[in-house]
């Protein structure tokens, strides 16, 4: 289980990116992390992964996250963390050498699914292919907790939909995916839990089961939390003399 206790993160210039965040998640969950741009989604993930300093406590199965257990966490980011000059095959060799639980079969299976050339440097790939490499590396590292930060940037709709189905099929019961994305409607069928973050604070945390019982969709829930006003567009347009069709 990953536990965050009173986590605060302040950037220089007195910007509070995270304020008193308390969150925990265990094995086998697929958690969607939603929030507007600048809400703190990426900061939250980076703090968990130890890439940013923070105040508070973040524990993995009761222990601090150090080099000894950091390989239980993997990270796929829209900033891209692969090695641009290495080929896909060379990435597999690197990960196999450094991550004892690297899932080679899954890696090459996903590479085949995305039709990625194995012997070309990744820097020569298209933007969509690059993010595919990023995602399959995160999924194949052998981690128990897989953090994906806006992983679908550059993916076309067909690849995204197929990928969601594939993800549900390949994940093991003990694997947890922590996924941040703006594509709320698309991932509604994928996630089992939704965490909402707004200006560094967790404002909502609900399971999809609870939403079903309430008869709400994830989009409805997010709109409710954000106080989204459905008539804001028509009101703005009326000021400009237009209509909301």
């Amino acid at each position: 289980m990953v536990e965050l206790k009173a986590v605060n993160k302040r950037y220089s210039g007195h910007v509070d990116a995270l304020k008193d965040v308390n969150l925990s998640f265990g094995q086998g969950e697929i958690i969607g992390l939603f929030g507007e741009n600048g809400a703190g989604k990426t900061t939250l993930m980076k703090c968990i992964l130890g890439l940013l300093g923070y105040q508070g406590e973040i524990l993995l199965d009761g222990e601090a996250i150090t080099r000894k257990n950091i390989d239980r966490l993997s990270f796929g980011t829209c900033e891209l963390s692969f090695f641009p000059k290495m080929t896909v095959k060379e990435h597999a060799e690197f990960y196999e050498a450094h991550f004892p639980k690297f899932r080679k079969t899954r890696f090459f299976g996903l590479a085949e699914f995305f039709e990625l050339p194995l012997n070309r440097a990744v820097k020569t790939f298209s933007a969509g292919q690059k993010s595919q490499v990023e995602v399959i590396l995160a999924l194949s590292q052998g981690a128990d907790y897989i953090f994906l930060d806006e992983p679908f940037v550059g993916h076309d709709i067909f690849n995204r939909e197929d990928f969601y189905k594939l993800l549900l099929g390949i994940l093991e019961p003990t694997e947890t995916v922590f996924l941040s994305t703006h594509l709320i409607e698309e991932v509604e069928g994928l996630v089992s839990r939704a965490v909402m973050i707004h200006k560094g604070t967790i404002i909502g945390d609900v399971t999809t089961e609870e939403l079903e019982e309430q008869g709400k969709t994830l989009v409805d829930y997010v709109k409710e939390l954000y106080g989204y006003k459905a008539d804001r567009v028509s009101k703005s347009l009326s000021q400009f003399g237009g209509t909301d069709e």
């Binding site: 080099r67 390989d71 290495m86």
Partner: protein, 180 residues
């Protein structure tokens, strides 16, 4: 051994991405060494011009062009510090070159990609530093070794190939060899 070299020395297949390719770097290193050799040959030119040992020594007398020379009037050659002055003035630049490579290696994990995120998840905290520093450290040790070897050769030439009476009272000041 070959896998270790590929792993820790820059090139297309190494983990230190964003670096110049191995071939370009090797060319730069070879050119640097050639320039070092050429620059250090200042000593050889100076030494040759001083005509250190053209005299023939036979039964306590020196002869030059068939004429016996009184050793008291033999001119002293310039001291070793003058001979060696600035011979290795390129060494600091080559060290800076090595440091620049190390900086570029570290930078390559932050730009264009953030592969530093992967390196920070490795069990070994030294893997990143090994990949960034292996080549620069080896380079600095190598050029320093070349300078020391050349210095020893020139030192030997000066003191063993020169007529002893022509050598002034002198000891080598290493810092003078680095002066510009």
């Amino acid at each position: 051994m070959k896998r270790w070299i590929v792993k820790y020395f820059p090139g297309e297949c190494s983990g230190a991405e964003g670096n110049p390719v191995r071939r370009t770097l090797l060319i730069l290193c070879i050119v640097s060494l050639l320039v070092l050799f050429v620059d250090s040959s200042k000593f050889l030119i100076r030494y040759e011009n001083s005509e250190p040992g053209e005299y023939i020594y036979d039964s306590d007398y020196y002869y030059w062009e068939g004429k016996r020379i009184d050793v008291q009037i033999l001119q002293k050659i310039p001291g070793i510090n003058s001979m060696m002055e600035g011979v290795f003035d390129l060494w600091p630049l080559l060290v800076v070159f090595g440091v620049a490579i190390a900086v570029m290696n570290y930078r390559s994990y932050f730009y264009p990609n953030k592969s530093i995120y992967v390196m920070k998840r490795l069990r070994s905290r030294w893997e990143l530093h090994l990949r960034c520093l292996a080549f620069p450290v080896v380079w600095i040790i190598f050029v320093t070794g070349v300078c020391i070897a050349l210095g020893c050769i020139y030192h030997h030439m000066y003191f063993h190939n020169t007529i002893p009476e022509r050598i002034p009272e002198t000891t080598l000041d290493i810092w003078r060899t680095l002066s510009w």
